[in-house]
Amino acid sequence: MKTGLQFLAGNEAVAAGAALARPQVVAVYPITPQTTIVERLADWHANGELKCEFLHVESEHSALSAAMGASALGARTFTATSSQGLLYMCECLHYAAGGRFPIVMVNANRALALPWNIYGDQRDSLSQLESGWIQLYASDAQEALDLTLQAFRLAEDPRVATPVMLNVDGFALTHTYEPVQVPEPAQADAFLPAFKPAFHMDLDAPLSLGFSAGPRDNTAFKIHQHRGCLAAESVLEEVDAEFARHFGRSWGGALEPWRVDGAEAVVVTLGSLSGELRGVVDALRAEGLKAGSLRLRLLRPFPAEALRRALAGVRVAGVLEKNVSVGFEGTVCSQVRAALHPLGAAAPQVAGFTGGLGGRDIPAAELRAVFLRLLEHGGTHDNAVGWIDPGVRDA
């Protein structure tokens, strides 16, 4: 693996981050557009650079199940998936989160069948928000590498003890190339020392894991789990500050605001779309329009208080996601509405937008149109979905 400044695809950056974390067990199963992550890890493993147990599992359910088995003994584990694979391991997602195993998994955001589609949108991870995993969303290759390293420290912190899903937009991020600083192994080791598990199977102190808890006791464990996940928001800030001390780069925790100060209309989004959005905001500002954008880096735990603070004084918030919760509105939109509700009359109006499904491009002109609509019409008074450039119209 080459270190220093490299020209890497998002997946290659993720793979580098994962390798630098020195996982002891890696479970491998291919699915577009994640596949080049595991291929890169396989290259390094095959030439002896990546020293780990490399498990060619026979399905994604087995990938996460094997990761739990390894984690139960106190090994640092990593896997990656996407879309149908994420759904196939759905049972194991809840299992790993409830079991508090600090597994790190990268999910290449991709559309869900049916109809079949291998391109990027955000339905896969958004459909699994209830699983209990911490969910992070990266916007470029450097961040993807850095968050991979941060994810292990976050997951393994005993105050958190929760698995982390790092999401990277399929093709838009996984397969596009950027200059990326790949840390030296010694740097990564200093930031991320060997895994010290909070609990593990031990031949000297045998443990029974994953037991049954009935009506009397079940809630206590779920409260513990809920609080562990909630703690991740502040621990992420600590981890990011520590990261900055080691690498000279800081990502800033749960939110990434762009020109939100004094903005009238802010578009809230996830992932790599935020890059395009910043350009649109800058152009609007140059025309004297008070636009801003806000990226949610952390979606679970949901940074509700931070969001309320960030959007205080904003007149209208548009929530733009590559997803729709069929039969209602965008999932992220619902969550933003719920988080802003306690502000009462002072809450920004909200409008939800869905675009980019099945890998459909969202041109800058469409993003600009969203802002103009928000500035002119404000929020919606119902939960109607604002379809961005669907490519069809009604008769």
Partner: protein, 319 residues
């Protein structure tokens, strides 16, 4: 008598520790005998995986933990993959002299668990996989599994007026496992505990995957007397419905091939799940048994005279 007792005890080589005690299984449960004996033979240096099913449901009810050794409940489909992960961690962490062992029922093995088990064997992971076969999904109240025998009444294949119990034969799951070229596999029965213990010890010595399918009679699900698990475990073998076999070095071996089987009726007649069988059906089962044994003997012969390249042995090239 005390000398015979202590002599037999030391010959068993099992030790006084009870690694599986305090569970809430039915009184007379055959499955718990399979787990208890295997764990006593394997010793305390184990990492155990048990999927959803009877054995996990009765042994992990917080706060009562019936496993005295490291143990974890796996997902229903994921026993073998959990074990694979454990085995990988054993290697990664440099843990020595320890066994990774799983205990899954017939449903959790031959139906929902087959994919993960196939993968684990294919990878050559060092795991001991023990299927306690009680021939139905017992924990959920006796439903038909892929290993439910022909004619057996279960709640999803009841003896009705048109259909008379399970209409499909038991999957030849042992054959499926053997076809992977697994280093060692065996069938066993709690009715022959010494044979079972011998096989557990053989499995423990394998540097790779091993598989044991142990008949674990379930009086609750089979509709037999509360004290019948041991006797039924013996009769199943003696009447030929449960051949004791091994698969090793690519060759099938029959541990016993009696000149005469005991009558099927002695075995079937004690079980409520077979009480609806008429004489015609019992004859059919006898013929099926006889044909099966012909095949098993042929497989054993084939192994003896086959050239190495003809035998299903999983090959691995490791530098």
């Amino acid at each position: 008598m005390p000398e015979a007792l202590s002599k037999n005890l030391s010959r068993l080589g099992l030790g006084a520790d009870e690694p599986f005690v305090g569970h809430k299984a039915c009184a007379g449960c055959g499955g718990t005998v399979a787990l208890r004996l295997a764990l006593k033979a394997l010793g305390p240096r184990v990492f155990v995986g048990v999927p959803a099913g009877c054995m996990s449901a009765v042994a992990f009810l917080y706060p009562q933990m019936a496993f005295g050794v490291n143990a974890m409940i796996s997902t229903f489909a994921g026993t073998a993959s959990l074990l694979s992960g454990m085995a990988a961690a054993v290697k990664a962490l440099g843990i020595r002299d320890a066994h990774v062992v799983g205990f899954a029922g017939d449903g959790g093995t031959a139906d929902i668990g087959i994919q993960a088990l196939s993968g684990a064997i294919d990878r050559g992971d060092r795991i001991i996989y023990i299927c306690y076969d009680n021939e139905a999904y017992m924990n959920t109240g006796v439903q038909k599994s892929g290993l439910t025998p022909l004619g057996a009444s279960t709640t999803t294949s009841p003896a009705g007026t048109v259909l008379r119990g399970a209409t499909a034969s038991k999957k030849d799951f042992f054959g499926i496992i053997a076809a992977h070229g697994i280093p060692y596999a065996a069938t066993a029965s709690i009715g022959y505990p010494h044979d079972y213990l011998r096989k557990v010890r053989k499995a423990a010595a394998v540097d790779g995957p091993s598989y044991i399918q142990v008949l674990a009679p379930c009086p609750t699900g089979w509709g037999s007397a509360i004290d019948s698990a041991g006797e039924l475990g013996r009769l199943a073998v003696d009447c030929g419905l449960w051949p004791l076999r091994e698969f090793e070095g690519g060759m099938h071996r029959l541990n016993r091939d009696p000149a005469r089987f005991s009558p099927l009726a002695d075995y079937l007649g004690q079980q409520g799940r077979f009480k609806h069988l008429d004489a015609g059906m019992v004859s059919r089962l006898e013929r099926q048994r006889d044909e099966r044994w012909k095949t098993l003997r042929q497989w054993e012969e084939f192994g003896k005279q086959a050239k190495p390249g003809q035998l299903p042995i999983a090959e691995e090239v490791v530098p």
